[in-house]
Symmetry: C2
Subunit: 347 residues, 2 copies
Amino acid sequence: MAHRWQERERSGAPRLTDVAVLAGVSIATASRALSGGGVVSPGLTRRVLEAADELSYTVNPHARSLAGGLTSVLGLMVYEIDDPYFAEIAGGVIQVAGEHGWSVQVSHQDREAASDLAGVRMLRGQRVGALIIAGSGYRDPAKNATVNAELEAYAASGGRLVAIGHRDIGCDAVLPDNVGAARVAAEHLIALGHRRIGVISGPDTLTTVVDRGRGIDRAARAADVEEIVWAHAAFTRDGGRAATVRLLDSHPGLTAIIALNDTMATGALSVLRERGIPVPQAVSVTGIDDVQVAQDLAPALTTVRLPMASMGRQAARLALRPAGGEPTVREVGHELVVRASTAPPPA
Amino acid sequence: MAHRWQERERSGAPRLTDVAVLAGVSIATASRALSGGGVVSPGLTRRVLEAADELSYTVNPHARSLAGGLTSVLGLMVYEIDDPYFAEIAGGVIQVAGEHGWSVQVSHQDREAASDLAGVRMLRGQRVGALIIAGSGYRDPAKNATVNAELEAYAASGGRLVAIGHRDIGCDAVLPDNVGAARVAAEHLIALGHRRIGVISGPDTLTTVVDRGRGIDRAARAADVEEIVWAHAAFTRDGGRAATVRLLDSHPGLTAIIALNDTMATGALSVLRERGIPVPQAVSVTGIDDVQVAQDLAPALTTVRLPMASMGRQAARLALRPAGGEPTVREVGHELVVRASTAPPPA
DNA sequence: TTGTACGCGTTATCAG
DNA sequence: CTGATAACGCGTACAA
């Protein structure tokens, strides 16, 4: 009961010292018993563990970080956590992190390099032990340079760095095949007979957008597509709406629309519905990503599935792995999911 | 240039000492100039600030936390970050936190008390400076007790605690009117003429579910609803599917379905579509929440809007406010949003 | 107003 | 295998 009394006496949480006293060992031994790798005799280890349990002791991560180095916190950079694409990735990351006793700190950006930089700085400032950067890189090398320098400095200082969808950072990465995925979407439309296709695209400052665009180009070049027109806008539902409006007004002859992600496709569908243009009878629509709601849209969206949650899980596993040797790159597959938003063009 | 050299010499990030040396002051002065409240003479303050900028100094939050109080990290507890309801709340929280220079640590649970407890413990272990708990409480007082005790201990030890949708913790809270929102949904259906209504509901161990159910009860009692049947399942899309299947099979005469959230409604719509039951011609469907995709479903979902992002923002503002006096409670409004999934019952 | 010196809780180094 | 003890970077009484 003596320890209970001591516990009450101190205002804050129990410290390592309290555990050590209760177990009758030095704090060094207590520390090793708790976190070290079995260097302490079994008897003492058990006593320490019991004491820690008795006091419901939890390490102070700040003290640990000060003394040692980094923390068991994983930093996650995304654009807009409320975009299903990132939300699903985040879900995967948080799940795996939790399983390993790590917590996840989320930082979300404005799709601008300056904002990215601020996010990385903040996370570095927090001394996170691992950092996953999701979201696209920038096509402009100058923009990437500053952020990447910060990122590489982080990795150089011992932090575990994993990129999702970035090829240009020399670190572990989980890479969707953006070129291939977009190509599959385009080929599907072409195979259905479409020859006049609109592409609604995010800003081509983002590498994801450029890659997906390239995939479409390839598919179009391989076939004899008469007309392929592009409309760029924000990589969001509203952007999708704006781009679709422009496309429809300027090129009334289009029979199909490829959206470079499902979020934009959602916007496209909403415009089409408002205008009373039947999908897929008059115009077919495809997306890319297969976010969970794609199956529930009106009509259900034909799209190319990227396993976001799994990408998040894989990235987290890479991030939690001890640093070692060569950067690991995991390419993830994609799969055409044909639903109700595509059909042959009207006769 | 001397400082540059020193900077290189040390392996890690620049410390307060480095700034102090460069500015030619003591670390105490540097500390006060950077974070203190204008107690340092303007001249020195400027020199310190310039030095900090020159070195691109950032405080080590762990050292700060060790020395003094809590950290500029906000803990956020949600269920499934990839559920749009929570994703939208999280978006609001992260936005406001970012504006105030705080970062956000997300912990997501399994909708079980044990898991909740683990999450709170983890966040407390991290010494977060504020804690927002979203997601429902439990109806079972015993289940709440342990979690709430932990939560109150946190608040008692100086942490800022804000609840979203919990009434039973004596702390700042942002409260949607779950009873009223559900009632509005039911009244809408009743006004359309529906008298045989199915309710697909989450597990009634959650207070959110109970409250929403109560709202429906009230509406039903106030009118002469012939038949009202309940089906409970997980508070997810799949749960919505399961509950809908049971309802349809056991009570073929229903003309309307109220889902207790949009996610379940989405599941209901998918089952109805698979069975070729036209919505709203044969069966009307409503949800609650108005997640962003509700407008894009097939058909567009009639639902009751809760301002999730705004709730997140408000909660974050409360959490970032210095602790003081009485708990503040912000009730947030709701609004019926009539779309295409509801109509009068078939004749 | 400014500087000195101690303590925060842990890990890691170095003796025993 | 175990125990002292010195960092780690910062806030802050206390002294000047």
